[in-house]
Symmetry: C2
Subunit: 82 residues, 2 copies
């Protein structure tokens, strides 16, 4: 089962990468730009058919490795098989 994990900086945490992208886009002439936030998206395939278990395992992965929960928050989304 595929699970998409999105990791973003918590509100109020300084994000120099997003600031740099914002400035770069502004200097390229995108003057209708109002703001930029950036995050990471990690798609993991987990060997289970149980959605609740997949969600639980993905949360474990975030807590133990993928996210720095002091400054980052994560959201977990199950990819429905098409």
């Amino acid at each position: 089962m595929q699970v998409t994990i999105t990791i973003e900086k918590k509100p109020g945490v300084l994000d120099p990468e997003a600031q740099a992208v914002n400035q770069a886009l502004s200097s390229l002439g995108f003057d209708d730009l109002q703001g930029v936030t950036m995050g990471r998206q990690i798609t993991v395939s987990i060997d289970t058919d149980d959605q609740e278990r997949a969600r639980y395992r993905a949360a474990k992965m975030c807590e133990s490795l993928l996210a720095n929960t002091v400054i980052e928050s994560y959201t977990i989304e199950i990819n429905e098989p098409s």
Copy 2:
């Protein structure tokens, strides 16, 4: 209008970061892990109410700065106001 841009490596392009995460998770005991892919998620606020225009501007940003279209593909999604 908020637009979410997701940038991923094209299929077949080597992704050492995803490989490293895969190995790290495996060595942490996540033996039900079958695969990892990674991408970047960029949320831009664009000063327009026209969805088509927002989509067009976001594509321009990808082509001119955000994505390396030789090895990366991007998808653009309009965030509906709630």
